[in-house]
Symmetry: C2
Subunit: 239 residues, 2 copies
DNA sequence: GAGTGGTCTAGACCACAAT
DNA sequence: TTGTGGTCTAGACCACTCC
């Protein structure tokens, strides 16, 4: 029986078993596609109950380290490629975290007729109106993001009454419409003259653009395009 | 007692309890920061054992829906901001998934003296040599990515012997050096003349650049810069 | 049919926080 | 001290896969 410290109650048994299996995979003792011993045999090996073994294996399966098949067995999953996580906080928070001052200018905030593409996206009858906002965010007075947003009036009826110099549209929408899903696209594009002027960018410099659609209550909640000056703004992260 | 179908064995009890709590949060019956009933009282309410209730609550806590404090209680967590996940697969896989043909041209593959910045990054003595590669990836013959990579020779001693027209550096490194950590940066930049020509881009068009450092065995394994034509390449995703 | 994982229970001991 | 969550057990029944 493999020795895992049972008396020393600092580290839970199921956690020790997880680590143990993980290190077997790291060391190559267990390779991709290999069969992992059955729960019952691991019970014997570690002197643990089946519930404990089950929890260890189940959590490793959730973490995509193992693959479990009912009636068949447990296997080492294929090595996954890395997933890069771009955490999108409120830009106001982000700026404050850097110890800088966030300000915001509201250029537009109105009800507006949607074009054909938006109608398709929001699944509306043609000629319907959406809420529309157009904002510039500043970090210590320097323009850092232009956000153009279309919002589903059904999900956020009070959108036009908000003061976005106090709380960002993102923060407001998160409150009123619980996030169900997101899709996004990141691209590098030359800005239009309008965007370029708002961001006070030199001619010829590219923008880093994040386009994002959020879903809530089974419908499209909002569609937003965020333009950032490419020379001074980046998405970063680690894990 | 709240009725959850116990006889109908299609949906596990713990799953039904999770859904039930989730819908209470969605409906506003449970709000951010609210205290969730204790395990024991939920046992009574759902007619389930404590282990079952515990599993439901524990999984909701892992999913950051709830926050649990030992000795205190269970609470509804703060609404999270969305995290955008950029999944970085092997570019070869990515292209093949689209049903296109991936090819690769190796421009450079050698041992090369590192500059001061790389020495700091890899924590090497000045004058040390790193492995260096410079590749262009093509999708149906169209250049889509230039990758410039520096690799720690200690972690991947056979790097120079690889045939990267068959398997990408990324795929090779994932095999020999298990990924411990990643940091990355995404930016929009105008390409150098060299990059621009390799990607056959018109003058003035920006690049979408992904810069990434990977760690393995407690050391820096590689540093890579990937340049993509901004007009035809985007990072996309959803969740 | 034999063996696997998926789930569930009733009870237990513990660490921790609030009081 | 009381009540909370964190963990663990021994045993059970089930659905599923493979032979």
């Amino acid at each position: 029986m493999i020795h895992v410290s049972k008396t020393q109650n600092s580290i839970p048994l199921f956690q020790q078993i997880k680590s143990n299996i993980l290190s077997q995979i790291k060391s190559g003792e267990l390779k991709e596609g290999d069969r992992v011993p059955t729960e019952m045999s691991l019970c014997v090996r570690y002197g643990a109950s089946r519930m404990t073994i089950n929890r260890a294996l189940r959590e490793l399966a959730i973490e995509q380290i193992l693959r479990r098949v009912q009636g068949d067995g447990t296997y080492v999953a294929q090595q996954k490629y890395q997933a890069t996580i771009v955490e999108i906080k409120s830009i106001a928070d982000e700026i404050r975290t850097r110890g800088h001052v966030h300000t915001c200018e509201v250029l537009q905030l109105c009800r507006k007729k949607a074009d054909a593409e938006l109608n398709r996206l929001f699944n509306l009858k043609s000629g319907s109106r959406l809420f529309h906002s157009n904002l510039v965010h500043f970090e210590d007075g320097v323009p850092i993001q232009v956000e153009t947003r279309w919002v589903n009036p059904v999900l956020a009826p009070d959108y036009l009454e908000q003061d976005f110099t106090l709380s960002t549209p993102n923060e407001y929408l998160m409150k009123v419409a619980p996030l169900e899903g997101v899709s996004y696209r990141i691209e590098a594009t030359l800005p239009s003259l309008n965007i370029r002027k708002l961001l006070k960018m030199p001619r010829g410099n590219p923008c880093l653009v994040l386009y994002r659609i959020t879903r809530s209550f089974g419908a499209i909640a909002s569609s937003v395009t965020m333009w950032h000056p490419g020379d001074s703004y980046q998405f970063v992260g680690s894990f």
